[in-house]
């Protein structure tokens, strides 16, 4: 039944959907495309306007020509590739199988409530990844071990500070400083210290926003792309400040 209440309900779902997609690290054109597709499944034509912290939506019911417009906030969320994939699949599912609003809401909530990877497992995997990175750069066994420990401490601190809702840049700075200061122990041993120090902070490199920024600019979402790249530059700057402070201290 295409009445005002129904359009409001569909619009709310579309707002939540696009806000969550944008928050969990999906590039802008995909957010817009997926939301439009999901809207078309209800015969609702969607126009989205995107900014870093807010978005606005105009949803027009193509049967009754009624329009609902709303400005809403982008959800603050860590990068979640699993939601990127599942929510993208949901939009195809909705249009291919003609799902109802209730069915989509149920599937949407189910995707959001799925268990993510265990933080302890992520900690272990990131530490092993940085250890491997050290090896790829030509590091020896002692350097690899030191990098593993430094990454474990640095990433654990990042997880704790993120949980405490600390400022993202302060978190990056603290994590970078702790990881690099632990790696500076390598100067006491006869090992590849430079490689050890160079590898210590690489787990903080913001790969996802960096690539999303490039994609956004190439696809014509220049403002969003530049915003993402400025955000990346600031993250890299704070990694550098943390590492730089260690280098000054150990000089």
């Amino acid at each position: 039944m295409h009445d005002r209440e129904w359009l409001l309900r569909v619009s709310r779902l579309l707002c939540d959907y696009s806000s969550h997609l944008m928050g969990c690290g999906v590039h802008t054109s995909r957010v817009v495309r997926n939301t439009k597709r999901l809207g078309l499944a209800f015969d609702v034509y969607v126009t989205l306007s995107t900014f870093q912290n807010t978005m606005s939506i105009s949803a027009m019911d193509m049967i009754t020509n009624k329009v609902h417009s709303e400005i809403f906030e982008v959800e603050k969320s860590p990068i979640l590739f699993s939601h990127n994939t599942e929510l993208s699949a949901l939009s195809w599912d909705a249009i291919d199988n003609k799902l109802t609003v209730e069915e989509i809401e149920e599937k949407y909530n189910k995707i959001l409530s799925k268990h993510l990877l265990d933080p302890k497992l992520i900690l272990l995997m990131v530490s092993l990844a940085n250890l491997s990175f050290c090896k790829l750069f030509g590091g020896d066994a002692i350097s690899m071990l030191i990098v593993f420990l430094a990454t474990a401490f640095g990433f654990f601190l990042k997880q704790v500070m993120t949980k405490w809702m600390c400022n993202n840049y302060m978190t990056i700075f603290a994590s970078s400083f702790i990881a690099s200061i632990i790696c500076s122990v390598s100067f006491l041993f006869d090992c590849s210290s430079d490689i050890c120090m160079a590898t210590s902070v690489l787990y903080l490199i913001p790969g996802v926003p960096l690539v999303n920024g490039v994609i956004d600019i190439i696809e014509g979402y220049t403002l969003m792309g530049l915003t993402r790249l400025i955000n990346c530059s600031l993250i890299i700057l704070f990694i550098a400040v943390g590492l730089g402070l260690t280098l000054i201290l150990i000089k």
Binding site: R30, D96, M125, S132, K135, L136, I195, A198, V214
Partner: protein, 162 residues
Amino acid sequence: MFVKIILDCFFASIAGCGFGAISNPPKRAFLYIAILSAMGHCLRTILMSYCKLDIATSSLFAGILIGFSSLPFSKISYCTATVLYIPALLPMIPGKYAYNTIFALISFLQNTDDKVLSSKYMDDLLSNLMITSSVIFVLAVGATMPVFLFPNKAYQMTRRKK
């Protein structure tokens, strides 16, 4: 040579999966992230060590390989291509050059009174910064190129029924 390449693939795949884990990909994506990371890093090592290509050109080819290979893999795994190729690019971030950039910057700031030393560190700073930013840029462009060449195909990877 063969052992070096195998080890390179092994450690690159661990690095790719580990850095990918930060972004919480679906569990089924890890296998393909590992394969893409190994392929990309292996190609870059071969191009740099045996074909004597520079790091930026080698990274561009490695990025393109990862980008193109991510399309069939994302179709098989029902994941979006970005979920697979972004973590696979991370083991190729030129960390040593990035470190040298920061090291040169701090050394420059601490030796501003000495003209010879400060010029040397400024040279180091600029060359390392150029290499780091160029490599990161070509990696991103190389990997995203196939998505822009085949947009319709790339945007339907998570579609289960056509």
